[in-house]
């Protein structure tokens, strides 16, 4: 008996000693932070993950456009929206609440991007590789995106939690709002890192991704936009000037080229054209945007496809361009207006429609983001390029900031370049500071119609309440900002709701 006991005890001992090792989770097929970051390819994949939450439909891919355009005076709810009708209504009329799902989609998307950017900043530097230029670019780009994401959040929500570290458990998870000044300080320092000639983004597009990644100039341009928002006119003009003087960009003669799916990005700086910083969407569902879909009419496969009919999908008529915005186009704005707001469209399939009942005024649709150039489109696919900053914006930032800082004298060239490409024959001249200001504001409205910039312009110009209260009479003070998502308030007791949304 003793013998058996001994054997048994020995065996039990053996099991005990190997127990902890036995209970380690076998992570075959799983990727963890210990194993993930080892080559420059991994660095690029880590960076790609920063893009994903932003370009998702919940964030920039759809919600961003609906929420920001419908809150502005550029767009109104579509006459016959056949989907997203609730969102169209509540954002157009400012009857949304903090629980409205599109808001949390944007909030979550940008914070996920910040988290993924922080992962890059914290881990990619440890990779040992000869491809040091890749590593440098990846890290600098993560700083760029951390700045961009915070910039979007602070513009939409005001003072928000500032996240400069990836989360470890719940440490720091319940942090409250940072001051707007602190957030802008982080944005500026991140962008200064991104455009630093020694460690930041290269001036030349990064060959790896053939021109779509932001360059040093994208960081300059974003900084210019940030300073413009902060009304630091000198700095805004200074950074816009750096982009203009860099000579890498030029306006495309054909306004249409800016948005076309078929317009590929190039590593060749001469072909960068107007793309300072653009989000590229794929035509397959899952990676496509819906900007075109929500702006286009529902009862037709509007001239989406060259040489193809009855493929892809019709628009959803969630939003239509307001008459005021249409009226701001000048009579000879031929190149631009004819593309953005064509006077008619070809209905490829008249039999489809919604119950065959709807006929719509063809002139109210912003047709920037068509499916033209896409082939073999899957149901739900909507690929197109959506610019965040294009060269014409850099020119107009310069024009606006220069005028505010020093008057119009040195600002004409920039604005006239934009107007000229639009097809407007007569260049601007002989304006004073105020009339130039009016001109540049009007120019921004027409040039960027449907690019979700108007609401931020109205806010920084101080024109938000004047303009919007004439449309929404009972608009409350503080409602220029979005409410903090209700779920976020519920989950984080240290946050309080924005003024106007209680």
């Amino acid at each position: 008996m003793k013998k058996f006991l001994l054997i048994y005890l020995a065996m039990a001992g053996l099991i005990l000693s190997s127990c902890e090792k036995f209970l380690e989770e076998d992570q075959t097929g799983q990727i963890t932070s210990e194993t993930f970051y080892s080559t420059s390819k991994d660095a690029v994949q880590a960076l790609n993950a920063v893009y994903n939450p932003i370009i998702s439909l919940g964030c920039f891919g759809l919600n961003y456009c609906v929420v920001n355009e419908l809150r502005s005076d550029d767009f109104v709810k579509g006459a016959k929206p056949w989907t997203n009708a609730t969102q169209a209504d509540v954002y157009d009329k400012y009857t949304f609440t903090a629980s409205e799902g599109f808001i949390s989609g944007i909030w979550n998307g940008y914070y996920q991007a910040i988290k993924n950017a922080n992962l890059v900043i914290e881990n990619v530097g440890n990779i040992v590789t000869p491809d040091t230029s890749v590593i440098r670019n990846v890290i600098a780009e993560a700083y760029f995106f951390r700045a961009y994401s915070h910039f979007e959040l602070v513009r939409m929500f005001g003072s928000v939690p500032l996240k400069d570290k990836s989360p470890s458990g719940l440490t720091g998870a319940y942090s409250g709002r940072a001051s707007v000044d602190d957030i802008y300080a982080l944005i500026i320092s991140d962008l200064e890192y991104a455009c630093d000639p020694k460690k930041g983004l290269y001036a030349k597009p990064w060959v790896e991704a053939a021109g779509q990644h932001p360059t040093q100039y994208a960081a300059y341009a974003l900084l210019a936009n940030v300073y413009l928002t902060l009304q630091n006119w000198t700095k805004a003009a200074e950074y816009a000037k750096k982009v203009i003087d860099g000579g890498k960009f030029a306006l495309w003669a054909n306004y249409k080229d800016i948005f076309l799916y078929s317009k590929k990005f190039s590593a060749n700086t001469a072909e960068l054209g107007e793309n300072v910083f653009v989000f590229n969407f794929h035509q397959d569902a899952g990676f496509s945007s819906r900007w075109g879909w929500i702006m286009q009419p529902p009862d037709a496969y509007v001239n989406c496809f060259v040489g193809s009919t009855k493929n892809g999908r019709p628009g959803a008529n969630v939003m239509e361009v307001s008459q005021a915005a249409i009226n701001d186009f000048e009579a000879d704005d031929s190149n631009r207006k004819n593309y953005v707001l064509p006077s008619s469209y070809t209905d490829d399939d008249k039999t489809r429609g919604v119950n065959g009942l709807i006929t719509l005024d063809p002139t109210k649709y912003c047709m920037k983001y068509t499916n033209e150039g896409q082939t073999n489109v899957l149901w739900g696919g909507w690929g197109s390029n959506i610019p965040v900053i294009r060269y014409s914006e850099v020119l107009l930032i310069y024009a606006e900031a220069e005028n505010e800082a020093n008057g119009p004298a040195n600002a004409y060239a920039a604005i006239n370049q934009v107007r000229g490409r639009a097809g407007i024959v007569a260049p601007l001249s002989g304006l004073n500071k105020e009339t130039f200001r009016t001109a540049v504001r009007k120019e921004r409205r027409t040039e960027f119609l449907g690019e979700a910039k108007r609401i931020f312009d109205l806010i920084r110009w101080g024109e938000f309440y004047n303009t919007m209260q004439s449309i929404i009479p009972n608009l409350k003070q503080g409602q220029h900002l979005l409410p903090i998502p209700q779920g976020e308030l519920d989950a984080n007791p240290s946050l309080k709701q924005n003024e106007g949304w209680n």
Binding site: Q27, G29, I31, A46, N48, Y51, Q112, G169, D284, D490
Partner: protein, 1143 residues
């Protein structure tokens, strides 16, 4: 051995040691038995002469020893040799001398070889050999291991494999007591007979039943915990196709609900309520000591997202229920805590058939059955639908042109339910071979089950084999195995399911005016644009052309060795494994009825491998009146699950094309593969102590380590204690002979639940892609916030029970009261999204279950006409005690069938509470109008014929005359007040009849089938309730109006009390009548038993529920959304006839 020792003690008393020094035991045995023959010729021929006066017998014997070669063997304690005698003999032999000497004393003698003379008490010397056979009174088969004991002594023996025994009886008038577990004892007067045959009747009171518990077994009388036990005899009457179905109504405290009535479909089993919100609530199944991992819900969605939307077959259906010998349901903590971190939800121990020593027994069982749908919906016919559609279009705002010309309707009028239902055929064949001898026991079984469903394109087929062997290698070693191999093939009709094309829903909604297919074989698509009828997938297309199947190969078994170095100690080592390979296939060809624009297919495989190494040491010893059993053990186990699946389109329209994905196939980005392992290591021990059978104590302790928890939280300890007092054994109870059992039990313990899936404590990286130049580029980032503190849910349970039996067990009752509190509930805690994550799986929240269970069994008649009754009822109350500290409730949006949440999780309410609006009929033209707006008061957007909702409260807790989300209230819940069963067995001569009734009372069901059908949009077919719809000419009917477009807010798809129905039912579940042919008749055919039977399943249901069957839970195993029904597979009435032959 024992017998011998008893005898020696009796003969020689304690003084025998002195003599044994020179005499081996075995030789003595020989002497004793050979004695009558040898009878010592020497002793007869030797003469002695002797003369003594007033000497003790002892002195006389000593004198004889000196003067002769005789020696005497005796024990002073037993024989009185101090009597003084006078004796004078001359040349007499030793027999005559001793006869004279011992005359009048209580002693006698025997002369052995070597001139040894034994002197002992008379009764011992008068030995007589009795042999005989013990048989079962009913079957006439030998009873093995029956005890045969001489009354008033401890002398006895046990019967061998032929039921034979042989016993030396010292007194011709001795009385033998013959007993065996499960039989009534018999007493027999020997009366000088040397051959005694006894027949034992089965003991109906079953008091000495042995109950299997975790890692061991105990006599039922020694049980301290709450254990429900289902024996083979009860299993015989339950014709089921899956082992979990047997549990319905057969153990108190167990609630069994069908997740799908499809053959091989899922089932939800809840022991003493729902403990967990998000983790698993299924009991742990242990088959022959091997835990079976049965949590497909955790499994499949994580592993195979493409299939998470499809109905999951029931893994337990791959095991042949005919192989089961007994099922034990462990309920209280004393019983379950030995399974530690997996014991929270109760444990179901399944013991499969073992061989019995005796002659080979061959049993054949064959049955055939047919089934038909038990109930259908009454739907509108073609004309009624056309009127309804026209009405709905006319009522639209603005009015739509009507489409159907009632005088010129299409020539079709089809009830599509008839198109999908069929008569099912069920065949079941079982063959078993059992037997063994003293060293080898074997049970070999084979089974085949084939069942076509009552819904076309569904069915289930299972082949199974089992071999259970046990070999006693020598005195101290026993080895054995349990091995089962099975193959199951399910054809699945997509039902019960909110995703994809629910066949039941499409059969109910498909417009009766449409033909199934045209003359070219193209299925209609359902769409009639002019009538506003959308595309609905044609039910005929689904049943005829689509294919969904699940096949599975399973090997489950273990090998073990039991070493018994000394009698009290057993060391068992077992290695078990469960291997399952399964394959899912789904195919949808391109035809008119298909909503998509390409033939498409999904194929997937899942491969699971589980192993378990178990070491157990059991020690059992009695000290006087005390009995101690201790068990310590350790197990190590690992589970590895691997899966892959592919989605392809652009396929040919041929059904089997999923077996042939090729270059032309477009494989989209819907591809998955996964590898998910987990490990557990455990140490456990248990102490059972009983004193005099009256006072029983059990304590157990288990320590579990699981890889699925946070690094610092891997180990947990789960203790339990239990006490029981068998009051009927106390002396003061002897004056109440009517009470045969009275036992009070109490227990307390802690258990856990580990169902959280793999890697949940880690921060793993997941795909997060970008787009570059119109190409998708891979990206990776963390997809889960790490929670190093993640641990099991822990349940503290206390239980008080009482077992009572009176009239020799003819009436027996068991009552248990329990309270369970589950803490550290796993819950996806919403965390600030500014972290980049929205939820973190955390241990928050508490849930409480408390209840009463009662079981009553009576033997009403025990004569030739026998009648037994058993009744069980269990009450359980479930309550969410805490959610996550901050939140008091969460509206559950997981079920999106009607586009709105249907349930709420709220502190103070049970899990599964339905949440929505209360209605108050419909608005009529007589309702008051608000003069300020010229509209109805609370619902200004509503018109006559719209549903009127109740204004319950407003923003400040007061009614505000606005109907909004604040007016939602709890509308009921899915937890029954009580579940019960009532079973009656009758037997007379060869007939037996079993009537099994089962029911559930007081639960609500959210009938989303009806909610979908009765939205009265006029676009799809609906129930005949639509005939009672509001019209301008008839406002009193109570149903809302039909309206196709422009319905105002709070209209169609609002969760309301309209769809919450009482789910109570009483069901005559099975009725089985059997006839056993008399053995006199069948024995000529060498058949030992021939039984024919017929049974009816699901005979009749008393219920107010309007759907197919109230015994339904479309949520299946998912606890959060428990208790709704949507397009559920209907239940069938099944009639079966069968034949059972034993050779």
């Amino acid at each position: 051995m024992k017998k011998l020792r008893i005898l020696i003690t009796q003969v020689f008393g304690y003084g025998y040691k002195k003599y044994l020094l020179i005499m081996k035991l075995t030789t003595l045995l020989c002497f004793l038995t050979l004695l009558p023959i040898s009878a010592s010729i020497f002793s007869q021929s030797t003469s002695l002469s002797l003369k003594v006066n007033n000497k003790t017998i002892k002195e006389v014997l000593e004198q004889i020893e000196q003067e002769s070669k005789f020696h005497f063997l005796y024990n002073d304690n037993y024989v009185d040799l101090d009597k003084k005698v006078d004796l004078e003999v001359n040349k007499m032999n030793i027999h005559d001398i001793l006869d004279q000497l011992l005359k009048g004393s209580s002693s006698s003698y025997k002369v052995l070889d070597n001139n040894l003379v034994v002197i002992a008490p008379v009764e011992i010397m008068q030995q007589q050999k009795v042999t005989g056979k013990v048989l079962d009174a009913t079957s006439g088969e030998p009873i093995i291991g029956a005890n045969v004991i001489i009354q008033g002594t401890t002398i006895g023996t046990t019967t061998d494999i032929d039921g034979k025994f042989s016993l030396d009886v010292t007194n011709a008038n001795a009385v033998l007591v013959i007993s065996s577990v499960g039989y009534m004892s018999e007493t027999v007067n020997v009366n000088g007979q040397s051959m005694i045959n006894v027949k034992l009747a089965i003991d109906i009171t079953k008091l000495e039943e042995v109950v299997v518990i975790g890692y061991g077994s105990v006599r039922k009388s020694d049980l301290t915990g709450s254990v429900g036990s289902i024996k083979e005899t009860e299993l015989k009457n339950a014709k089921v196709n899956s082992i979990d179905q047997i549990l319905q109504g057969r153990a108190a405290g167990v609630q069994v609900t069908q997740a799908s009535n499809a053959p091989g479909g899922g089932i939800s089993v809840r022991i003493r309520g729902n403990n967990s919100i998000q983790g698993g609530n299924d009991p742990l199944y242990v088959i022959d000591g091997l835990p079976i991992y049965n949590n497909e819900s955790v499994n499949s969605s994580a592993m195979n997202p493409l299939f998470s939307n499809l109905q999951q077959p029931n893994i337990l259906s791959t095991i042949n229920p005919n192989d089961i010998q007994s099922i034990e349901v462990l309920k209280d903590a004393s019983a379950t805590a030995i399974y530690g971190a997996r014991g929270s939800n109760g444990v179901v121990l399944i013991t499969t058939k073992k061989g019995e020593s005796g002659k080979v027994k061959v049993q054949v069982d064959a049955s055939n059955g047919v089934g038909n749908v038990a109930k259908t919906y009454d739907l509108l016919n073609a004309r009624q639908f056309a009127e309804y559609n026209n009405n709905a279009r006319a009522n639209s705002s603005p009015a739509l042109p009507t489409y159907f010309d009632l005088n010129n309707l299409p020539p079709y009028d089809i009830d599509y339910q008839k198109e999908i239902f069929q008569t099912s055929k069920i065949q079941d064949y079982q063959l078993s071979l059992t037997g063994g001898d003293q060293t080898l026991l074997y049970a070999i079984t084979a089974g085949y089950h084939n069942e076509s469903g009552i819904v076309k394109s569904s069915g289930f087929e299972r082949y199974s084999l089992r071999a259970n062997l046990e070999k006693k290698a020598n005195k101290w070693l026993k080895v054995g195995n349990n091995l089962a191999i099975s193959r199951s093939e399910s054809e699945i009709a997509n039902t019960d399911n909110q995703y994809g094309y629910n066949l039941i829903m499409s059969s109910l909604q498909y417009v009766p005016l449409q033909q199934k297919m045209d003359q070219y074989g193209v299925y209609s698509s359902g769409q009639i644009t002019g009538a506003g009828i959308p595309l609905i997938v044609n039910p005929g297309y689904i049943t005829d052309l689509t294919k969904m199947s699940y096949t599975s190969n399973k090997i489950i078994g273990n090998i073990y060795a039991e070493v018994t170095p000394v009698k009290e100690l057993t060391w068992r080592i077992a290695f078990g494994s469960d291997i399952q390979e399964s394959r899912n296939r789904n195919f949808q060809p391109l035809n008119g009825g298909n909503a998509s624009n390409a033939a498409q297919s999904i194929v997937g495989t899942i491969s699971n491998f589980y192993w378990n190494l178990e070491n157990l040491l059991t020690y059992n010893k009695s000290f006087g009146k005390s009995n101690v059993t201790t068990m310590v053990g350790a197990t190590q186990e690992q589970y590895v699950s691997e899966a892959s699946s592919l989605y392809g389109e652009n396929l040919s329209n041929k059904t089997d094309v999923y077996n042939n994905f090729n270059g032309n196939t477009r494989v989209t980005n819907n591809m998955y593969s996964s590898y998910l392992p987990w490990q557990m290591a455990s140490f456990f021990g248990r102490l059972n102590y009983s004193y005099d059978g009256k006072y029983l104590f059990t304590a157990s302790l288990r320590r579990d380590g699981s890889s699925r928890f946070g690094k610092d939280m891997r180990w947990g300890t789960f203790p339990s204690v239990a006490l029981a007092w068998t009051i009927n054994k106390e002396n003061f109870m002897q004056s109440f002979p009517v009470i045969s059992t009275l036992k009070l039990r109490g227990s307390y313990g802690e258990t856990g639940s580990t169902e959280i899936g793999t890697y949940n404590s880690l921060s793993t990286y997941g795909g997060s892609n970008a787009v570059w130049n119109n190409l998708v580029a891979p990206g990776y980032a963390t997809n889960r916030i790490p929670n190093p503190y993640l641990q099991w849910e822990s349940t503290k349970q206390s239980n008080i029970g009482l077992d009572l039996a009176v009239l020799d067990g003819r009436i027996a009752a068991t009552i248990d009261l329990y309270k369970k509190r589950t803490e550290s509930l796993l819950y996806n805690l919403p965390i600030p999204a500014s972290t980049g994550f929205t939820t973190m799986l955390s241990n928050v929240g508490n849930v409480e279950n408390k209840g009463i269970e009662m079981g009553l069994s009576t033997f009403n008649l025990t004569g030739e006409f026998k009648w037994n009754t058993s009744f069980m009822v269990s009450f359980n109350r479930n309550e969410v005690i805490k959610l996550d500290g901050q939140k008091k409730e969460a509206v559950l949006g997981n079920v999106q069938i009607i586009g709105q949440p249907i349930q709420i999780l709220r502190v103070g309410e049970p899990i599964g509470s339905f949440y929505g609006y209360k209605t108050d009929g419909v608005y009529t033209t007589k309702d008051p109008i608000n003069p300020a707006t010229n509209k109805f008061y609370n619902q200004p957007n509503s018109l006559p014929g719209d549903i009127k909702y109740q204004d319950i409260t407003g923003a400040n807790g007061v009614r505000d005359s606005v109907i909004n989300s604040l007016d939602r209230v709890i509308l009921g819940n899915a937890n029954p007040d009580y579940v019960f069963s009532f079973s009656n067995s009758f037997s007379y001569k060869g007939f037996d009849l079993n009537v099994f009734i089962q029911g559930v009372q007081g639960n609500e069901i959210m009938n989303l089938t009806r909610a979908t059908l009765e939205n009265f949009s006029g676009t799809t077919n609906t129930t005949t309730r639509a005939l009672d719809r509001w019209t301008t000419t008839n406002e009193t009917v109570g149903q809302r109006k039909a309206m196709q477009a422009g319905r105002a807010a709070y209209g169609n798809a609002t969760t309301s009390d309209l769809y919450v129905e009482d789910g109570s039912y009483i069901r005559l579940k099975t009725l089985t009548l059997a006839y056993n042919f008399p053995s006199s008749l069948v024995s000529k055919m060498r058949i030992s038993n021939l039984r024919i039977y017929c049974s009816a399943n699901n005979v009749y249901t008393w219920t107010n529920y309007s759907g197919y069957d109230p015994d339904i839970n479309s949520a299946g195993k998912a606890t959060l959304n428990t208790g709704y029904e949507y397009g559920a597979y209907p239940s069938a009435k099944v009639y079966t006839v069968g034949l059972n032959i034993t050779f």
